[in-house]
Symmetry: C2
Subunit: 287 residues, 2 copies
């Protein structure tokens, strides 16, 4: 929004607000599922509308963008500190997709919790799922874990149940794209499968996310829109075809995990446990 604002060439407040609304719409149309996107755009929109003239609004938007970034880093660090309390020395933690600095622009959420536990001197080992179709686990999480010097093994998504059945996973931590008022959580496709598996094996399943991810306007997680992405992501890997031409696919980018499968939700304002409705109201009040 700030970068879009800087490119607007007008001295009329009305014309500026018209054009910034267009920037807003363009950004809002990029992806439907994650709550933070709309949360940040809305916040920037409010700053724009509260301003007097384009020059002043541009400065205010840049300042607000920097504020959001700083707050995000702080939120990540706080929730990582809370979450690290759930990780015991010697734990093997299974995580999905990427939730580190590459994904959050801050310190990380689920991966932040793991990093913080590691920084506290706990021996933590990670099992990272590759996270098909876009392989964020193999490409990004593996890179961040190597950089942080945290021992890990990469697995294909299909192997999670096998390692849980062999008692090789002490807990699962994932991030969230949107959390509804009832605690149901939208996150990267495959998260729900991991939650069902963790439940079947009596393994704690944690969601780590800043409160900006919580959407109190949705009473049920099933109201969260799920982005369906290009078939090419399934039929091709990094440009190489892996299925016969014309193969039809399903490609939902996210799934919904019901709250009964979630042991706790870790936010920068504390750890929330069931029943989630009350706890989520608490951490979002006066937010």
């Amino acid at each position: 929004m700030a970068l879009g604002a800087l490119k607007i060439r007008t001295e009329s407040r009305d014309e500026f607000l018209k054009q910034i609304k267009e920037v807003n719409r363009t950004l809002a149309a990029t992806r439907p599922t994650a709550r933070n996107l709309f949360w940040a755009i809305d916040r920037m929109q409010q700053v724009a509308e509260a301003g007097n003239d384009p020059k002043q609004i541009k400065k205010a938007l840049v300042d607000e963008a920097v504020n959001i970034h700083s707050e995000q880093i702080e939120a990540d660090q706080k929730l990582s500190q809370f979450g690290a309390g759930l990780i015991e020395d010697g734990f093997t933690v299974l995580t999905h997709c990427n939730t580190g600095a590459l994904a959050t622009g801050g310190y990380g959420t689920a991966l932040g919790v793991i990093k913080r536990a590691h920084e506290q001197g706990k021996k933590v080992r990670v099992i990272a799922t590759e996270t098909r179709p876009l392989l964020q686990g193999a490409r990004l999480t593996a890179w961040e874990l190597k950089r942080a010097d945290i021992p890990f093994k990469l697995i294909t998504d299909s192997m999670a149940g096998h390692f849980m059945s062999r008692d090789e996973v002490d807990c699962v931590i994932v991030g969230a794209d949107r959390i509804a008022a009832n605690g149901y959580t939208a996150n990267k496709i495959g998260t729900y499968t991991l939650a069902v598996l963790a439940n079947a094996h009596g393994i704690p399943f944690y969601v780590a996310a800043p409160t900006s991810t919580i959407d109190m306007s949705l009473t049920s997680g099933y109201q969260i829109p799920i982005e369906e992405r290009s078939p090419d992501e399934v039929t091709h890997i990094q440009g190489v075809a892996i299925a016969p031409e014309g193969t039809e696919v399903f490609n939902p980018a996210f799934d919904i995990t019901p709250s009964q499968y979630i042991t706790a939700i870790i936010t920068e304002r504390g750890i929330i446990r069931k029943p989630y409705g009350e706890g989520l109201r608490g951490v979002t009040k006066n937010a």
Copy 2:
């Protein structure tokens, strides 16, 4: 074994048996998990040892190989006929890996059941998992389903739970590499995850395999050796690196599904239900 025998150049029975034993050992060392491999090698070994001279043994081995192939096709067709009775008109069947003619040399096992139901005029739709790491679902099953004109969608392995939670899967059918005397089943990695998911959603989970897959010498499935394969299969896809260099992986090629997750085992001698011990003894008697 037959091809190996044809290459042996000796007229001495002892020397021939020494060399055919070497062929046997070479084949037996290729893979540890699947039972059929050892079943077929043992059968050929017995034919070799019962023979009088190399020339006669070579002919007997070729005949036996042709017999095994014919019996395999017949077994596939019989079990597919039994299994098709479990598939109702309008069913969406989820399957994993490849279990068609490409895998079995016959008609197929799990995919044979689906093909037979389709041939019976039932409207059957398939959800095929891509089956990482080696993508047998995307590469082989998708090709066979297209060829058989059966409508299907390809998904990544991580999506199975999502579609089960949306009531879009009526049953799961998979093959087997080895079935222990207690019904515990070794099959392609990811099978166990699908079985846990099916159980959590009340969806029938079927294993389709010829009786040559059953290993009554193992009282528990956890005695089945699990092949661990090259890390490259996880870190690379068709030669393209998908993870940072030096990334460590786990790569078990199979997992074990306990019998409590298996609704029925479909063999060429009938459909077996719990308790499996008795039923498995029955279909392997005088085999």
